[in-house]
């Protein structure tokens, strides 16, 4: 399955809804999307991963890259994910300590910590 990307604004946050597989083949598309958003001034991103079927380390690398970019502008990058198989990959790599991970988009959008 291929990657799908949808973007919408909620207040000062930009929500990116990702679906399908984020892997070595599709990750460049997600990277472009994140770069475009930051270039256009969106520094507070919420990436909704609830419809992601597959995530590999290339995908993780793109998310980490996105985090670096928004941080350069005092921004934030929050993830929405409750899928155990996806969360496991963040845990294995220690990235649960790097990304704020929320159970719902609402929670992520209203988070300020």
């Amino acid at each position: 399955m291929d990657l799908s990307l949808e973007t919408r604004t909620e207040g000062d946050r930009t929500v990116v809804v990702v679906g399908g597989e984020i892997d070595v083949y599709t990750a460049p598309k997600l990277r472009e999307q994140l770069i475009d958003l930051v270039s256009s001034g969106a520094y507070h991103l919420v990436v909704d991963m609830e419809s992601v079927d597959f995530l590999d380390s290339t995908g993780l690398g793109v998310l980490v890259g996105g985090l670096k970019r928004v941080r350069a502008h005092e921004g934030s990058l929050r993830l929405v994910c409750t899928q155990e198989r996806i969360l496991k990959i963040f845990r294995i790599t220690g990235l649960t300590k790097v990304f704020p991970i929320h159970a719902t988009v609402d929670e992520a959008v209203s988070a300020t910590d």
């Binding site: 083949y25 990277r31 590999d56 380390s57 890259g65 990959i89 790599t93 990235l95």
Partner: protein
């Protein structure tokens, strides 16, 4: 002797094919369904790494993935031909994060592999790196 062997030119699209074959062959040899996801991810990581190191080294030879089931184990090996020196350290990702860019980083995928798979062995040298992963088979459906 490998049961199924796949070789492919080092392109990201073929990593998906390798993943698909990993889960299909794994199921066929009787891999427990709870492990299929792990195998798919681990084989994908190892292949993505092999594709990455070969591309960055300009090495166009085929990446080779071999699947076999022997003695109640499902063994997958992924071979690249990038030569000795293609990095195989598995970085502490939490420490590394501040420096980490989305740029290709071969150690990243291996860290995922070693975090996922209990029985993994990485051998680096000439002509390249071999990642060998093994999983127990609950039953031997067919071979």
């Amino acid at each position: 002797m490998p049961t199924v062997e796949l070789s492919f030119t080092p392109l990201p699209a073929h990593v998906r094919t390798a993943r698909l074959i990993a889960s299909t062959v794994g199921r066929r040899v009787g891999l427990d369904e709870s492990l299929v996801d792990e195998v798919r991810l681990a084989v994908g990581e190892a292949c993505a790494r092999a594709v990455g190191v070969q591309r960055s080294g300009g090495q166009a030879d085929d990446v080779v993935v071999a699947f076999s089931d022997d003695d109640g184990m499902f063994t997958v090996t992924v071979h690249d031909w990038a030569g000795a020196g293609s990095e195989v350290e598995m970085p502490d990702l939490v420490e590394a994060t501040e420096d980490l860019d989305e740029a290709f980083h071969p150690g990243f995928g291996l860290a995922v592999v070693s975090g996922l798979v209990d029985d993994v062995e990485v051998t680096s040298g000439e002509p390249g790196t071999v990642v060998r992963m093994r999983w127990p088979l609950s039953s031997s459906v067919s071979s």
